[in-house]
Subunit: 951 residues, 2 copies
């Protein structure tokens, strides 16, 4: 019996007995979904909607439903997963499975197939309530139910059956239910209850009937629209109906029918035969509501997937910025920092669209982000990449960090741009000695400063542990080699285990390096055994030092191995401060876990007596080092005083290393901010050092092309360069610095001009940021502006972020935005080619960047040039270990020195990090404590846990 089917174009027809053909409507919906998915996949190649169905047990009816859901998912292009738990699954196991799906980025939405079929007691409501509301495509989570029932239909997932019923009603042409009476029979949480909510929301007057309702036919008689979900076969009769009613039958009952092959047939809650002539439209059973339910499930899943897509490609963060309560005079850094309540870091992470699976919280104020972000956001265009550097500073520092933070606060909290600040993690040692803050200052700071300046998330401790394990391995290996025969050594290095000797993978790596093809320990020749087992380290060549994150001057030179247990194998060595470890430079320059392992493995710690470099790989310790560094490799998320995001990650020395924060933080930041956002990163020391290394070492390693240089200058430093009296930390400034002296400023601008020119050497646009002090006069500031503009600075902006926070750097932020917009990335170039000789590379830097006449290579350096060239390390970039207090190698030469020759005392290598570092002077790698270290003032209140005296 084939009745009329729906005419999609029909209006509100008064014709009777029309059949609402759910099956064909569902089919057309599915084909629309399929089209839409194809279109989206074309536009977004990585778009791949996914759903999952969780089943407990093995009910036959559930199996059929699920099979259909999976089939139709596939049909429309949705990846569908079936998670099936056994009939003995416990509630705990089910919840685990649901939570895995909550965190699974490949699943946009999922359902728990009901009823459950388990021998264990399981509370189904408890379990559905554990489904993430944003993935709850059955709409059964209380959060979604609450939104629906209170009429908030934005971002809500609606249960599939009632949603399908509304769709069917609409298809009759009834799209406006105002003034209509809708009767819902049934109040189940899956159908009746959400159904009435939807109808109320459609402006129908709704009558909710159920098993306790008296005189049901009387109520049904009022219905213009009738939805029946009563689980009573054939309950509603034709004479109950108001003529012309739309009848939606959700029932699905199996009743005995001797005429059927199986002896049963499916019927609805409505007596179709008697109702059809009275109703205007009526759904058949089967083929009415049923097929719609699955179509709506797919629609919900696609909605979730589109939502995720939108969120991923929606790069304007909706960020809660923290208001500043500016005070004049500006209070101390710690007072300002403590006066601000940071956002929960979880909130910040959500604002940045970081997925829960991509972040680990360390308390409520800091977190580590996963490198997997890089693959997820692989297709996203990078944001603009800004480096903050400075002119040659006074010993007091000129506010690069403060400017970095202030600029980010301006871009983020005031211009509402996506912006990340990427800064270095400071050593904990100086915190307790003589401290120069590294978290910015005034109203431009990173908070909480206690966390920033103390352990943070333990990265430096991890570096210390890794560094010292390697150091211990060197001495222990020499000790064991000294006391054992080749054979004994070999037998211990490749021990019998269950009667067999086997090389470990890292030992096989060593065999390969030695050119030994054989990997069966039994088959090695005597000479090969010796070659393999003896690193034969020449102790006078050991360059690997132990480290400690403490200012401990008495460890600058020590003798170790004096206990009788070490059999007189004493040697002189030293401790460095932890951040001087090559592992810190490796962390800063690495681009992935695999790359870090490579770098750690190739770190050279000494030479053998035959002059062969001995590496961490040779010592067999690489894997352990990587394991110790597995958390440290993930950047740390913190925030500024105004609530914009900051990555704190790595903090290598700026002389013996390259002095820049990590590539990984910059890379992840550039993806997170998206095409129109900004990453502001800071380079250590003056532009002659930090910026040069940023370009030639860091950018060379990362492949990233920066868009703009911000060059920080102060009137104070310019006066010094113009010939002002010496500036010494801890001593009062001379009068020249506190009263107007335009002449000094003008001559001092020579230093500024040279740094501008240096940036231009790399093809970069320069914005000069004058970090304003209260004693600066208008005339002095104007002089700087004029001189810098003449030298080719794109913009010269007076900034007051120390006193005003981001508001004081809005002008700078706008200038940076302009500079980035105008920058053509093809103009960027490195200063030198790696294929030049070590000597040539050093000469290029000295002449072009420092303004020297040339370089002079002293004997120790000459020896190293020969050694490194022989060892094949001559193609590494150069990392000059030079004073930051002058453009030259001599800290006393201020301004723009000329006519000098740079002496190269010695050269060292950081092969793992990937550079050679010539020493142009004596670099202290272990600070000391003064007579009265600042720890005398540091304390913690045992009740409030408030920290005093930090800074």
């Amino acid at each position: 019996r084939k009745a009329k089917t729906v005419d999609m174009s029909s209006g509100n027809s008064a014709e009777r007995g029309q059949i609402l053909d759910g099956a064909s409507i569902a089919k057309s919906i599915r084909s629309k979904l399929k089209e839409e998915i194809v279109e989206l996949k074309t536009k977004f190649p990585t778009f791949s909607p996914g759903l999952a169905v969780v089943q407990v047990g093995n009910r036959e009816d559930s199996n059929i439903y699920i099979r259909n859901k999976l089939k139709f998912s596939k049909e429309v292009g949705i990846e569908a997963k079936h998670v099936k738990l056994s009939t003995t699954a416990t509630q705990a196991e089910l919840v685990s499975a649901l939570e895995r799906l909550n965190g699974d980025p490949s699943v946009d939405g999922f359902i728990l197939q009901l009823p459950l079929d388990s021998s264990e007691p399981i509370d189904a409501d408890f379990c559905t309530s554990r489904i993430d509301p944003a993935k709850d495509i059955d709409g059964l989570n209380f959060w979604n139910a609450g939104k629906l029932s209170r009429g908030h239909l934005k971002d809500v997932l609606i249960p599939c059956t009632p949603k399908g019923c509304i769709e069917l009603i609409n298809r009759t042409g009834c799209t406006n239910m105002e003034g209509k009476v809708a009767v819902v029979i049934g109040r189940s949480k899956i159908v009746g209850s959400p159904m009435k909510d939807l109808l109320i929301n459609c402006n129908a007057t709704v009558i909710v009937c159920h098993s306790k309702t008296e005189n049901l036919p009387e109520k049904v008689k009022m219905a213009d629209i009738l939805v029946v979900a009563a689980r009573q076969p054939l309950m509603v009769k034709g004479d109950w109906l108001k003529p012309g009613a739309i009848v939606i039958d959700v029932g699905m009952n199996s009743i005995p029918d001797a005429t059927k092959a199986k002896g049963r047939r499916l019927v609805g809650d409505v007596d179709f035969e008697s109702c059809k002539p009275i109703a205007s439209w009526i759904t058949p059973v089967p083929g009415g509501v049923g097929p719609m339910t699955i179509a709506m499930l797919l629609q919900n899943a696609l909605e979730c997937a589109k939502h995720r897509l939108k969120k991923q490609s929606q790069f304007t963060w909706s960020m809660r910025c923290l208001p500043l309560d500016l005070m004049d005079p500006v209070p101390s850094d710690i007072e300002i920092a403590r006066g601000q309540t940071p956002k929960p870091i979880k909130e910040l992470a959500e604002e940045l669209n970081i997925l829960p699976s991509e972040i680990d919280f360390y308390g409520s104020k800091k977190a580590k982000v996963s490198l997997s972000l890089l693959s997820r956001l692989h297709n996203v265009s990078n944001g603009k990449y800004v480096v903050v550097t400075g002119i040659t500073p006074t010993p007091l520092g000129e506010g690069k960090s403060t400017t970095t933070i202030g600029l980010c606060q301006a871009l983020g909290a005031h211009l509402k741009k996506n912006v990340f600040a990427c800064v270095r993690q400071p050593s904990q040692g100086p915190t307790f000695g003589i401290k120069g803050g590294a978290a910015g200052g005034g109203y431009s700071q990173i908070i909480p400063m206690e966390d920033f300046n103390l352990h943070l998330t333990g990265d430096i401790h991890a570096i210390t542990a890794a560094n010292n394990l390697l150091a211990a391995a060197i001495d222990a290996r020499m000790f064991h080699e000294a006391s054992q025969t080749d054979k004994a050594l070999f037998n211990r290095l490749v021990p019998l285990q269950k009667g067999e000797r086997k090389f470990s993978p890292i030992q096989i790596k060593r065999l390969k390096k030695l050119g030994i093809e054989e990997i069966n320990p039994k088959k090695l020749k005597t000479e090969e055994i010796k070659l393999f087992s003896r690193l034969d380290i020449d102790s006078s060549t050991i360059t690997w030092q132990r480290v400690m994150d403490t200012n401990d001057r008495f460890l600058r030179k020590i003798t170790i191995g004096q206990s009788p247990t070490e059999r007189n194998l004493t040697r002189e060595t030293q401790f460095d401060i932890a951040v001087a470890s090559e592992i810190m430079a490796v962390l800063a320059l690495t681009t992935s876990m695999a790359d870090m392992k490579e770098r750690l493995g190739r770190m050279v710690v000494a030479s053998s007596k035959a002059g062969v470099p001995v590496t961490a790989d040779d010592l067999g310790v690489t894997g352990a080092l990587a394991v110790l560094m597995k958390d440290a490799i993930r950047p740390n998320l913190m925030q500024t005083l105004e609530g914009t995001p900051v990555f704190v990650h790595a903090g290598p020395f700026a002389n013996i290393a390259h002095g820049n924060s990590s590539i990984l933080a910059d890379k992840i930041g550039l993806k997170l901010v998206g095409k129109d956002g900004f990453v502001v990163t800071e380079a250590g020391f003056g532009a002659d050092i930090g910026m040069e290394k940023f370009f030639d070492i860091k950018c060379r390693s990362s492949g990233l092309v920066p868009d703009c240089v911000v060059l920080v200058a102060t009137v104070r430093a310019l006066k010094m360069h113009g010939g002002g009296p010496k500036v010494t930390a801890g001593q009062p400034l001379a009068a020249e610095y506190t009263s107007e002296n335009v002449q000094l400023v003008e001559s001092g601008c020579a230093n500024l001009i040279k740094h501008i020119e240096n940036a231009q050497l790399f093809g970069m646009p320069v914005v000069v940021a004058i970090n304003r002090f209260t004693t600066d006069t208008e005339e002095e500031l104007r002089t700087v502006q004029m001189k810098a503009k003449e030298a080719g600075a794109l913009d010269v902006v007076i900034c007051n972020h120390w006193a005003e926070g981001g508001a004081g750097a809005v002008g700078l932020a706008e200038a940076v935005e302009r500079a980035c917009k105008g920058h053509d990335s093809t103009q960027f170039n490195f200063l030198y080619d790696l294929h030049l000789s070590i000597e040539e590379k050093m000469e290029v830097i000295a002449k072009k960047v420092y303004g020297a006449d040339g370089i002079e290579i002293l004997p120790e350096a000459r020896k190293k040039i020969d050694l490194y060239t022989k060892q094949g390390f001559d193609n590494l970039p150069i990392c000059m270990a030079k004073t930051h207090l002058s453009l030259s190698h001599d800290p006393e030469l201020k301004g723009r020195p000329t006519g000098f020759v740079v002496p190269i005392r010695d050269i060292r290598s950081s092969v793992g990090a990937g550079f050679l570092y010539p020493l142009l002077g004596t670099m202290s790698t272990m600070p000391g404590l003064p007579t009265r270290p600042c720890f005398f003032d540091i304390d913690i209140d045992p009740d409030t846990e408030e920290i005093h005296g930090l800074f």
Copy 2:
């Protein structure tokens, strides 16, 4: 016009025109609430319900409502707080305020007063959705709305006005609405929508009408119960009503009325005059629904407070235990550990009823808990306190840790008791050398083992940092004292700051110690300046060593200060492994932040040349040490393989220190498990050492009284004690150990018996746990059981938790439960009195616990006895540094040795930790790396980040 008021006792009266006097009903509800609160406060003295009202701006109507809410709160005994934000408050500020209240344990429930009055754009729905559903006493959070609308009335907060309406309807005597028709006019989220949900839930047939409803009087006519919330003054007329209807008028409209003084009067949505004669019951306006709303708000607040009270006093955790998938043969530890997915640590914390403000998560698998738990749970009775110890072990260890974990898995996952395992954090050094796992083994482990064995949350790193800061301070101070005059030294120690010199608090502490009353630096006499400024450390007396968490044998004896910058102030010293630091012992023994600061300050690092002890306080570094330790003091929460909770906290050496995990972890655990729960803590080495120190040092310091000793024995160790061949790590066991030998077992039981007797010395019941190996025979096991019973063990249980997890230790768990139940805590006593002399205390331990004939004091020890007695440290408890491989001082003497005299070689002090430690042999405090350390096998997969080779 005074009409009839409600007769509370009346049934469903058919009488017309009765007035539902909301004001008086509300009053009676309030007085009932008041009575209930008084009663609860009597029963639970700390019970103090609290609510808060958040207001934005200054609307006059809001001010009146809030004033009433606060007044009535006070009246019934609820603390009420008014949080008022200015009219310029932003959404961000409002959300911050709401989240503070979410986390405020003194606020049980709160509301956001609507409408908001702000010049800023604020989304009120977004804000109310940020209120914790459990504190949402207005019931407006979507979670609560969803539960209500889907008929889940358990643990749901219902909006106050509809809740009050239902209460009013019930008061008419209409408590059963089955078969009744209820008409609700209005669908607002505050009244209409939740009203219809409640009526449906009361089994009424509900008609929802609203502004779009046609022919409203026709619908109203059907109503047995009519609730009007339409915001239409006097809309419902008498002739609309079904005679005898109950009419609830939620409207509150101000209309012009010339007859009134203010020219206006308040009316409802119902025309009271025409309706009253037709209705059976009708609410007046004002005085109807209005007063009920506030009463319901108070009722909701009290419900929340009672819920919290119940949760706090409900000590049977509802814990999701993790099922084990037992395999035979038992796979490797790492395979088992990796095969189990830990619960999110957040879930575990919630199960333990830890408040969000009391926990900081470190990633998703570990967390630190706050010491503030101790004050919140101050009134809770402690659980049972169980210590796990062992017989004298073989060098292979006999499974104390495994038994500790297995026992907790049995108590928690199988007997469903509240139970905490408290274990020590292992040093990271041995992880890379030769490893003995410390996370348990087989199916009784702590997970994830990578976190447990590596950095964890950085506590040991913090100890290293603090220890080495103190060490650096010692040498730096000697250096500066050596090169400066008294005056120069003083001027640097008390520097001019803004023209003034001022002592810091810690310097004033030193002045006090020196007996100098003067605290004005200018007024100190020359001699006092010298006394204050010079610590005058005798470098030969320095006992403070640097530490490193690495096995670095070459640091066992070193010479420091050899750099020319240190002017030949070289000296010999050593590095210890970090866990040997006294600061570790301090951490393990401290009871609060204030106590830790005290202990750190009094740590003695050397003597002055005059023989006066020099402390951390004298060096001025105490505050800095405490700051470095501020996070380390909080215990770390982890879990077992079966998902029961574990505290990992502190791990002092068991010879030179007391070898027990922290007092704070035990104390917090004892509160969290509650009266009927268990804390199982482990004591290092055999019972002669770890258990003795647990009682005499740890319990003395904590004041806690244990309930039961679990003594772990193995057939293997007993055979060794019975005269079996030597057992050596890394070498195969002799045949005696792998085949039956009852004779050896029987003689070996002498050792077990002595340990049982030792426990009894302290008045403790003993349960012997035989950690079963597959080679043990029934006869051997029976022998042990018999012997132990004879010696007075309360129970002797064969355990198989290594192979079966908690299921294998259920018998042990039941025995422990019985032992605890039977234990009388007054029977516990210390072994010795602190007032005995150092010599007497050592003698008591040697004779009573070790079974020695006496002690022999060697010259160095004699000198120290004199020194410590002179310095006043002779009243400290004694921490014997003895071998764990024998009951005697000689590791070769197995079984139960007799006839020996214990030599006391030397004595050292840990004054901060609070004990003296006599040295009975050479104790290595710095392990070394073997020829092939296990780091050769350790690696990380760069893609999956899976760690290999750990163990």
